[in-house]
Subunit: 228 residues, 2 copies
């Protein structure tokens, strides 16, 4: 191949290499100050006897975000979940059937809002403590989960990705408790509040928490900054 | 389609939908306290008369990271650049030829280390101030650049993504100056140092900066935490 051909070769052409694309969704559940991960087993297909995160293939008429919502609903029944991209995995041999790249997403939910039910073709579904994930997950999902977990922890440090974990209106102490739970650290009250206000994502409702005399103000996420 | 078929439909099958995948690399250059973005024009192909970031198609035998390195070398001659994924874009009509999804990367370099040369099929290459990006970039690259820029700024707040922007050994003041330049803010010296040490990414070389009497210690990135 000449230098010229080699350069032209990086352009997209009608016969450029193509592969399938999947969405895999790491759904983290927050229960009593601990993060858990949602895993399933399916009744057919690759790794049908092994736990893995919900995932499935993108079609011609959908974006990868459409695909993630479709897959999550098909396999878990969960609807209207907020999720965000973590990373795209493209290792050559990551899928046993053919070349498949996957876009990994994370979501962060309260499990009590999403009762587990067995959908067709799903034989098992359950929440697992992060330190009790089953061995030998399907595909490269152990790696996906570990990297998504790090991502969630890191992002919590500079973004407000509380998702549905807080009520619509909450006190600063409730927010701090959530952060301390997920990050597994104790935070200095004054520094925490300073950093949260620097993020400019909260607004004071002007209301105070009821049942607490002279109690603390309730805050809510600013509309434009809310992630759901 | 029955419910059963619909569920089976999300599994990867031999005839599942396939599309081409590209890597686009937003290369930010740090010059005199300002971030600039590297743009090129090519001599053929789509958007050949418009500025866009270096990008090209992934082949069957390479990961998207291999692809990004190949593309960057082909179009700019840059080698051994550290880059990281930002986000994957999958809108249905984002490429004029066919369905093409792209994985966007960012890199952060010192332009003086990478003199610009015109490679075959590249008709123009230049650094642009972030507030002077040309109008009507090719593809969806305006969006890619804006989101990558936000990503770089956000990441700098909790990770040490200084890349090649600092010498191998540097003082804490030099590090703080870099952060202040890129984030375009003034940082409190004590808080800055506290946060940097919390990251646990630096080690004290034990050497002091020469030419400054009783001068400040030189630090370096811990080997395991260095990004290059």
């Amino acid at each position: 191949m000449t230098k010229q051909e080699k350069l032209q070769d990086i352009q997209v052409k009608p016969d450029s290499f193509e592969c399938s694309v999947t969405a895999d969704i790491t759904v983290f559940g927050y229960v009593d100050g601990k993060l858990k991960i949602l895993l399933i087993k399916r009744s057919f297909g690759h790794f049908k006897n092994q736990w893995h995160v919900p995932g499935g293939v993108m079609e011609a008429d959908e974006t990868i975000e459409d695909c993630a919502a479709k897959v999550l609903f098909s396999l878990t029944g969960f609807r209207d979940i907020h999720f965000e991209q973590v990373k795209t995995y493209t290792e050559l041999d990551r899928h046993p059937l053919k070349r498949v790249i996957t876009v990994c997403f994370y979501a962060l939910v309260r499990p009590e809002n999403h009762p587990l039910t067995l959908r067709d073709n799903v034989t098992s579904i359950d929440w697992f403590d992060m330190d009790k994930i089953p061995e030998k997950l399907g595909y490269d999902h152990e790696k996906l989960i570990n990297e998504a977990y790090l991502f969630v922890q890191n992002n919590l440090r500079h973004k407000l990705i509380v998702g549905e974990l807080l009520p619509k209106e909450f006190t600063l102490q409730e927010l701090q408790n959530l952060y301390e739970d997920i990050l597994d650290v104790e935070l200095d009250r004054r520094n925490f509040r300073k950093r949260i206000f620097q993020m400019d994502v909260l607004e004071n409702t002007g209301e105070k928490k009821q049942g607490v005399k002279g109690g603390p103000y309730l805050y809510r996420l600013k509309q434009s900054k809310a992630i759901r």
